[in-house]
Amino acid sequence: MSIIEVKDLDLFYGDFQALKKVNTVIEKNKVSALIGPSGCGKSTFLRTLNRMNDLIRNVKINGQVMFEGREIYDEDLDVVALRRKIGMVFQKPNPFPKSVYENVAYGPRRCGVKNKRDLDRIVEESLKEAALWEEVKDRLNKSALGLSGGQQQRLCIARALAMKPEVLLMDEPTSALDPIATNKIEDLITQLKKHYTIVIVTHSMHQAARISDYTNFFLMGELVEKDGTDKIFTNPKDQRTEDYVTGRFG
């Protein structure tokens, strides 16, 4: 079952066309990977899904992105509400310079959750879901900036999960981390797909192969091929995909 459908999506930064007629679907409760060489448009594509590109000036978008059957670039749509449904984790861990607790409680507080007990519960649940609870339960009130890089990234995941989103977008979440921290995050992603739909941009084909169910291969702003991950890596239809996954360029 699909949760996001993208039809004929074009995106321009000024005169530069960063995405060309992209058509794809994101399957619910699966991990979809976006791969391709640097500058191919995979991160840009990810950011169109929760309208983070709105922050950049001179961006023009044509085409359709449907989330749960609703056009997200519709003028009447509340972006704020949309982003609560579609959470995001960034390349570089970016916890706020606040305590661990306040980082996770930030989103719920903005939604008007004031009751201390509710907040405590949400914080604990989210940290447990992000497999961080055991490591930070004794230092909830210490600054989040004191955590290690991997812990910070899981905290950012917990922060996104606290909003109970439907979809979690991850923009190369492990590229700034060491192999052990990367492993933990990958395990976590596999756990999370039971409850969430995950779209992950990754530089590493191995990572895509390890954790994703579907893979979208981008090249020069085009979506070359989208299929089950096994198929993309063992039996791609397009020659360019084969060249990329076999390491002939990229």
Partner: protein, 295 residues
């Protein structure tokens, strides 16, 4: 064979002339620096040494007597405090609001660039020109007369450009990652500004703002035209009263009244310098603390 040996020697020998030029030049720069640092320290030290004997509780808590030649300088202190508070109330909301508007809301383009240039320019306009403006607009056109409110508004205008530019810089220096993170969990733009951007920018805003207030507290020319009274031996009753003010009082006692005792002049100078120094100290401490906590 011989030649290459010589060559080798010259290459690795320290070039004495080069080193001496550098030494001389660096000594010269050090002298330049000392030519700034030493007078500054002398100025501060001189005022403290000469004034410290005069400044005691009665000097800062009593009315002037005998044509200001005796007694304290309480009304001038109170007047300056009124002006400072009024200046803060007018300039902070306007200045920080303008900075938020310019950085977070306004469409970035030619118009904002133009506005920024105008604001930067106004930061360099002479304070006496602000005095003229305050006289024309607040004292006469709006009919406030020579009053605390006219003076505070004039001083607020004077430091508005400083507050806008420093606040803008502080807001811009907040990494975009924080804004993105906040928006991505469904916070609105204003929530993001209020809960993430402003707390992070606050030390910078405060540093600039407090330095600006310190400057306003020590300004003479603008209040000369808009508020300051030569001599009023009582407390103001309303915002529309004239008051004495420390900088203007120092000007008066040091130039306008013959036979003024030296002690009163130095005492007034020390109190004024002390007040400005307190603002400066607070701003510097905030800045240093902030520097340590980020790096």
């Amino acid at each position: 064979m011989e030649q290459s040996q010589i060559k080798e020697k010259t290459i690795f020998k320290k070039d004495e002339r080069k080193r001496n030029t550098q030494k001389i030049m660096f000594a010269l720069f050090t002298l330049c620096m000392l030519a700034v640092i030493i007078p500054t320290i002398l100025i501060i030290g001189f005022i403290i040494v000469k004034g410290v004997g005069t400044v005691n509780w009665s000097f800062i808590s009593e009315m002037p007597r005998m044509g200001m030649k005796e007694g304290g300088i309480l009304p001038a202190i109170v007047g300056t405090l009124y002006l400072v508070v009024g200046t803060i109330l007018f300039s902070f909301p306007l200045g920080v609001g303008a900075a938020i508007y310019l950085t977070e809301y306004a469409e970035q383009g030619k118009l904002t660039r133009l506005i920024r240039i105008a604001v930067l320019n106004l930061a360099g306009v002479p304070s006496i020109v602000y005095g003229l403006f305050g006289l024309g607009l607040f004292v006469f056109f709006l009919g406030f007369g020579s009053s605390i409110i006219a003076g505070a508004l004039t001083l607020a205008c004077l430091i508005l450009p400083i507050i806008i530019t420093t606040s803008e810089e502080a807001i811009k220096s907040v990494p975009d990652g924080y804004r993105e993170a906040s928006l991505a969990v469904g916070a609105s733009k204003w929530e993001t500004i209020l809960h993430v951007v402003l707390p992070r920018a606050m030390p910078g805003i405060l540093t600039g703002g407090i330095l600006g207030i310190g400057r306003a507290a020590g300004e003479t020319a603008p209040i000369l035209l808009t508020v300051a009274a030569f001599f009023i031996p009582r407390m103001p009753n309303s915002l529309f009263d004239q008051v004495m003010a420390l900088p203007y009082h120092l000007y008066i006692v040091s130039t306008q009244v013959p036979g003024m005792p030296e002690s009163i002049k130095y005492g007034t100078a020390l109190v004024l310098l002390g007040l400005v120094g307190v603002f400066f100290l607070i701003a510097t401490l905030i800045r240093l603390k902030f520097k340590n906590s980020t790096s």
